[in-house]
């Protein structure tokens, strides 16, 4: 690293017009980061949640869900990212594939676990009153599973934002670029700003989602708050 004091480096980085305008600027990198994360989470949710709901409704996928948790936790995200990138090549699309692959498992497991956790007595009465399988799934299992599914999405978002940072190592864009470039250029100002920006995005996203989560399931909250 250079000998300039940290404050000086920060001043230099923040004073550079390219930091604020152009292809490597903070607004652009932030946009890339958010877009990549959002597309990855939405794609993974669309790919994973419906089949997980259906599988759990049919009481299948239980073993798969347990295996996914354990293996998912043991596989290093960094390794997966590199495998996908080296396999598919550099650039944003391979990074997206890796992010989808990494955000799917927590949503899958949480969805399966949530549906399986629905009180069997509630299900028995749903079937017993003559609901069709579709009605049992859509009117009973899905709404009751929603809080835990939302928790799975929250975990996935957290993980995707973190991994999208790593994507910069594989020539992807996003805020991770500042960190990777900071390391490469030994520019501590850029490094520090990158770190702060990524941390801020992750924490703000988490806070926003947690707040949204509470609003998303109001009936649940009042049902549990038994007075």
């Amino acid at each position: 690293m250079t000998d300039r004091p940290l404050v000086e480096e920060l001043r230099l980085f923040l004073g550079d017009p390219q930091t604020w305008w152009g292809p490597a600027s903070i607004p652009l990198r932030l946009g890339e980061h958010l877009l990549l994360s959002a597309v990855a989470v939405l794609a993974a949710a669309a790919l994973v949640i419906p089949p997980a709901l259906w599988a759990a409704h049919r009481r299948r996928g239980v073993v798969a869900a347990a295996a996914v948790v354990n293996i998912g936790r043991a596989v290093p995200t960094f390794g997966i990212l590199v495998v996908v990138v080296v396999w598919l090549g550099l650039g944003p699309w391979p990074a997206l594939v890796a992010l989808v692959a990494l955000s799917g498992p927590p949503m899958f497991t949480n969805t399966v676990a949530a549906v399986l956790a629905v009180d069997p007595a509630v299900l028995e009465s749903a079937w017993g009153m003559g609901m069709t399988g579709r009605a049992v799934l859509m009117k009973v299992e899905l709404p009751l599973a929603l809080p835990v599914i939302a928790e799975g999405i929250r975990i996935a978002i957290s993980q995707v934002i973190a991994t999208a940072t790593l994507a910069a190592l594989a020539a992807g864009g996003g805020l991770g670029r500042f960190i990777v470039d900071g390391f490469a250029k030994r520019d501590q100002g850029e490094l520090l700003m990158g770190a702060v920006l990524v941390a801020a995005v992750a924490v703000v996203a988490e806070m926003l989602f947690t707040r949204g989560q509470r609003r998303l399931v109001p009936s649940q909250a009042s049902a549990e708050g038994s007075r």
Binding site: V122, W127, G128, A223
Partner: protein, 382 residues
């Protein structure tokens, strides 16, 4: 199921040689059971755990498919058509209630009418009607089930099962999860409800006292779904078919025996009861005749309460007195055990028997113990 009314006494549900084996390797849960349930009666299936009583119930609404045999409801084989359509015409109540926690009580009750596509106006009218029927305060309709007590939840469960006015009701230990006081109250309410609605009810329990209290007919099942005996409570109690039934109804235990006998079997005393329209003189005579320090007042047969003899007025009329409520009041369907409980609970040596407020007579400790003695005698003789 088209025949809603189903004239009383006609078979409503019939099981012909029904067997169920869950797992090819294991013993059958139910083995060639043949059973006929008449329209408008309460049949209680009772037996130890593993006797397949719940399986029998679930085969009627096809939550469990029989391995072999035929089941008909209202003359139609249940196997015909879609199971979910069949189930909408059969009320179903389970021990854990199984209310939908994410729906209000109102919407829970409306589940089947909604599935049947009733108009919102009709659903809303029906919901209010049902709430009154099962004794739920209207203010509870907009709460979530989590905010209700266990007893209230089961009232909602019963209302929900009755919502589309099905001719048949299946009840699987519905009162098993509430405390004894609430359980007795819910049982009484079910008896009242049944007097008005005349549904065909199949009721599953492991509690013989509950079976005696509720059943028009009791079916005793043994492990493996073997039918040991069926008959009215009186038949089962007086002539247990075999050792298993005898053991199951608990021949050795006095308390159990108390639980098996109903007030209706006793010859009640009339006691010092007078109509309010008579004179204080007649009231004093009644008390003297019975050797009591009090008299009970009736108004056209309806219990008004009691007053101490010392408070009887000199005036020619009994009107204007303020009678006190009786401490121990039981119905004719109550078991002797409940009757003794009521006496002990009110620290009195007698209990008043009444039906819908109408006075029927008095029971005291001596009558209860004599009833037990006579049963012991008959058992020894038989």
């Amino acid at each position: 199921m088209s025949d809603q009314a189903g004239a009383a006494g006609q078979p409503m549900i019939s099981l012909q040689d029904v067997s169920k084996t869950y797992d090819a390797a294991s013993a059958p849960a139910v083995e060639s059971l043949t059973l006929e349930i008449l329209s408008g009666e309460i049949v209680v299936l009772v037996g130890p755990s593993g006797c397949g009583k719940t399986t029998v119930l679930k085969m009627i609404n096809r939550l469990v498919e029989p391995t072999s045999g035929d089941i008909e409801v209202a003359g139609t084989p249940v196997g015909e058509g879609e199971p979910h359509l069949l189930r909408r015409s059969i009320g179903y109540v389970i021990q854990q209630v199984g209310l939908f926690p994410h729906w209000t009580v109102r919407r829970n009750i409306a589940t089947v009418p909604e599935l049947l596509g009733w108009s919102p106006q009709r659903i809303s009218d029906r919901t209010g009607e049902l709430a009154r029927l099962v004794g739920l305060d209207e203010s509870m309709l907009d709460r979530y089930p989590g905010a209700l007590s266990g007893g209230q939840q089961q009232r909602v469960g019963v209302a929900r099962a009755l919502a589309a006015d099905p001719p048949v009701l299946l009840m699987d230990e519905p009162f098993g999860a509430v405390d004894p006081i609430v359980r007795h109250r819910l049982q009484d309410e079910l008896v009242d409800l049944q007097k008005r609605l005349r549904k065909t009810i199949v009721f599953v329990t492991h509690d013989i006292e509950e079976a005696i209290k509720l059943g028009d007919r009791i079916v005793i099942l043994n492990v493996g779904g073997v039918l040991e005996q069926q008959g009215s409570p009186a038949e089962i109690l007086s002539r247990p078919a075999n050792r298993f039934v005898e053991d199951f109804i608990g021949a050795e235990r006095n308390l159990q025996r108390l639980a098996l006998r109903r007030v209706a079997e006793l010859r009640l005393k009339w006691g010092p009861m007078v109509e309010v329209s008579t004179t204080p003189e007649a009231a004093r005579e009644a008390a003297a005749r019975e050797g009591t320090e009090w008299v009970g007042l009736l108004s056209d047969g309806v219990m008004a309460g009691w007053v101490p003899v010392s408070e009887l007025p000199e005036s020619p009329s009994l009107e204007g007195l303020e009678p006190r409520p009786f401490g121990a009041v039981v119905s004719r369907r109550a078991s002797l055990r409940q009757t003794v409980d009521a006496m002990v609970g009110s620290s009195q040596e007698m209990a008043v028997v009444a039906e819908d407020g109408y006075y029927c007579g008095l029971v005291d400790f001596r009558m209860v113990s004599e009833a037990l003695g006579s049963q012991r005698g008959s058992r020894a003789g038989g």
